[in-house]
């Protein structure tokens, strides 16, 4: 793949991702419930999307030609909220209202609440269809923006996903990019023990998608893959992003037990310490 981005830009995004992870930990601690593994695992993807890839304007969240980001796996919304806040859609201080009575940061996201949230999700398997509708509408209106859908891997066990995948394949939705958080976990265990998804690439290819596979923690690969998708004119693109659930918090990494659990105070402090050390290392590497 061609090298598109300068290393400073990438270092900046990597630093953002660490900040987002810190916010996720703080939010979950404050909320006392919510999901840890998925949000930490997708921080690099969200940082890359909102700080480089997406054409969006936090001051004008309803800009008609903005790129759309549809979150399908609504339970990982702490990372979406953290990203939107750090990108300037609403104050970072609002993050601590997550899951509390009266908040705009509902336990699972509600459309337009807060600004920047493009769809309602939580029940798995619905987001890809919603994204397809938005991509179709853009085509009908001769609009050139793109629609991105971020989903989880276990939601591929839902039939609706494959109904949607079939439709996108049949309708040549070149303006649609679907990113699958391939972290290999779900609630009851590892996906391949619960209901195997492999060979995933071949399945998606058989549904007529342009399939890319990347390291979901490598910012350059994330950006290059999204650029590559723009260059494909006949097909929708799906990016299988291989990630580590709970990334960068040592005691959470790879553990399905952290799917739907928040850290307690001691754990949160430990996690934040690790993340601070990591941020320092990234900064010094690029100085």
């Amino acid at each position: 793949m061609p090298k598109h981005s300068h290393s400073e830009e990438i270092a900046k995004i990597e630093e953002v991702a660490i900040e987002l992870r810190k916010s996720v930990i703080e939010m979950l601690l404050e909320a006392g419930s919510g999901h840890s593994a998925g949000p930490l695992g997708t921080a690099d993807i969200f940082a890359s999307l909102y700080f480089h890839i997406l054409n969006i304007d936090p001051k004008n969240p309803q800009m008609p030609d903005r790129d759309r980001l549809v979150l399908s796996a609504g339970h990982i919304c702490p990372i979406l909220y953290a990203t939107l806040a750090h990108r300037g859609f609403f104050p970072v201080s609002e993050l601590k209202t997550l899951r509390k009575l009266g908040t705009r940061l509902q336990g699972h996201p509600h459309i337009n609440e807060p600004p920047g949230v493009e769809n309602t999700s939580g029940p798995l398997g619905q987001g890809l269809s919603q994204a397809i509708g938005m991509a179709l509408s853009a085509k009908l209106n001769d609009q050139t923006h793109r629609v991105y859908c971020v989903g989880s891997d276990a939601e591929l066990q839902e039939g609706q996903i494959w109904e949607a995948a079939m439709f996108a394949g049949n309708n040549h939705l070149h303006n649609l990019t679907w990113i699958i958080d391939r972290n290999n976990i779900q609630i009851d265990g590892y996906t391949e023990d619960i209901m195997p998804l492999e060979p995933l690439r071949q399945k998606l290819e058989a549904f007529n998608w342009h399939v890319l596979e990347i390291d979901g923690h490598n910012v350059e690969e994330i950006i290059n893959a999204c650029d590559n998708a723009k260059a494909i004119f006949e097909r929708a693109t799906v990016i299988i992003a291989h990630t580590i659930p709970g990334k960068d918090v040592d005691f959470m990494q790879y553990k399905f037990e952290w799917h739907g659990k928040p850290p307690n105070r001691v754990q949160a402090e430990k996690a934040l310490k690790e993340l601070r050390t990591l941020a320092g290392r990234i900064r010094s590497e690029h100085d």
Binding site: S33, L101, G122, D188
Partner: protein, 328 residues
């Protein structure tokens, strides 16, 4: 005023009761049902621990099936198993089971009279912080309109356990609605349970309170206070079976009191309030006040906050009873 036949915990108002979620009642009940009949199976869609299906899985690993996140598929498979003589329990959250797979339930299970037991966990407001997407406030309505379907809404651990065992013994489709949060276990092992039978928990002549689900405990406490403070005597009826409705028990009470309040963690239209209103408007019209969710979605918040906000707490119940009494 506590009805002796209900065999409730004697210390219901005087000590802090042991608390357990109704889902635990299912978890323990289905193991007992499984011990009695080897045809009992459990299927679960990636929520084995939260639905408490794990107890059955540990005890009978060969009779437990993990379907992954696929509730529609799970409903269909269970129909096939039931048609072949098995007694499958299918478990997920109520928003998905029967929310997502309603049409599969309608045709493959209800219309086919397949002997499937549908377990809808985390119903009502008990998932609190998860927010509206996960708060099943429509599931009673969805299930009570289906012909052949029995609808059970247990109100404590003991009743949930008995309802689970009874549903395994009953031949035909059954929906059991469960909750996530711990709630007081105000019944005892001796409390009677029968599908289709409403139970008078407290006797009184002034107003009939009809409830289903753990919110009954709020109604009992409110009734206790109404009697102590104002001398108002409520008759509290537990309608765990929403369908088929025990019309006789309700009519006998309403003929005496002439006033009804229904209380539920569900939309007031289509749920228990709807069922009771429909029945009484045909058979014995009286003044009715339905407490529940009034045509809105839920939201994030703690269970206690939401109960208060949506007008289901003790203070609210007391206020509504007094209002209803003063209206005549």
């Amino acid at each position: 005023m506590i009805a002796d036949e209900a065999k409730l915990n004697h210390h219901i108002f005087t000590t802090k009761l042991n608390e357990l979620p109704t889902r635990d009642g299912f978890g323990d009940g289905v193991v007992i049902a499984g011990e009695k009949d080897e045809n009992v199976l459990v299927l679960c869609a990636d929520l084995t621990e939260s639905t408490r299906s794990n107890k059955f899985k540990d005890k009978f690993p060969k009779r437990f099936f993990e379907t992954g996140v696929s509730e529609q598929n799970m409903a269909g498979i269970s129909a096939g198993l039931a048609i072949s003589g098995k007694i499958p329990f299918i478990a997920s959250y109520a928003v998905f089971n029967p929310g997502r797979n309603w049409e599969q339930i309608r045709v493959s299970i209800a219309y086919s009279r397949a002997n499937v037991k549908i377990i809808g966990a985390h119903s009502g407001l008990s998932v609190g912080p998860d927010g509206a997407t996960h708060q099943a406030l429509e599931d009673i309505a969805l299930m009570r309109v289906l012909p052949n379907m029995v609808v059970l809404v247990p109100s404590d651990y003991e009743q949930a356990k008995k309802a689970t065992i009874a549903s395994a013994n009953y031949k035909g489709p059954v929906y059991i609605r469960l909750t996530r949060e711990k709630t007081p276990v105000f019944r005892t092992q001796d409390s009677p349970f029968e599908i289709g039978k409403a139970q008078i928990l407290m006797t009184g002549n002034d107003v009939t309170i009809i409830c289903a689900g753990p919110i009954i405990y709020e109604a009992l406490k409110a009734s206790y206070e109404l009697n102590m403070k104002y001398g108002i005597k409520c008759e509290v009826i537990d309608s765990c079976t929403i369908k088929p409705l025990d019309e006789k028990t309700m009519l006998d009470s309403v003929r005496k009191t002439g006033r009804v309040i229904t209380i539920e963690e569900h939309q007031i239209s289509g749920g228990l309030g709807g069922v009771v209103s429909e029945m009484l408007s045909e058979k014995y019209p009286v003044k009715i006040k339905r407490l529940g969710i009034c045509d809105s979605f839920g939201e994030s918040g703690t269970y206690e906050q939401l109960i208060k906000k949506y007008g289901l707490g003790i203070d609210h119940i007391i206020m509504e009873v007094k209002k209803l009494i003063s209206e005549r």
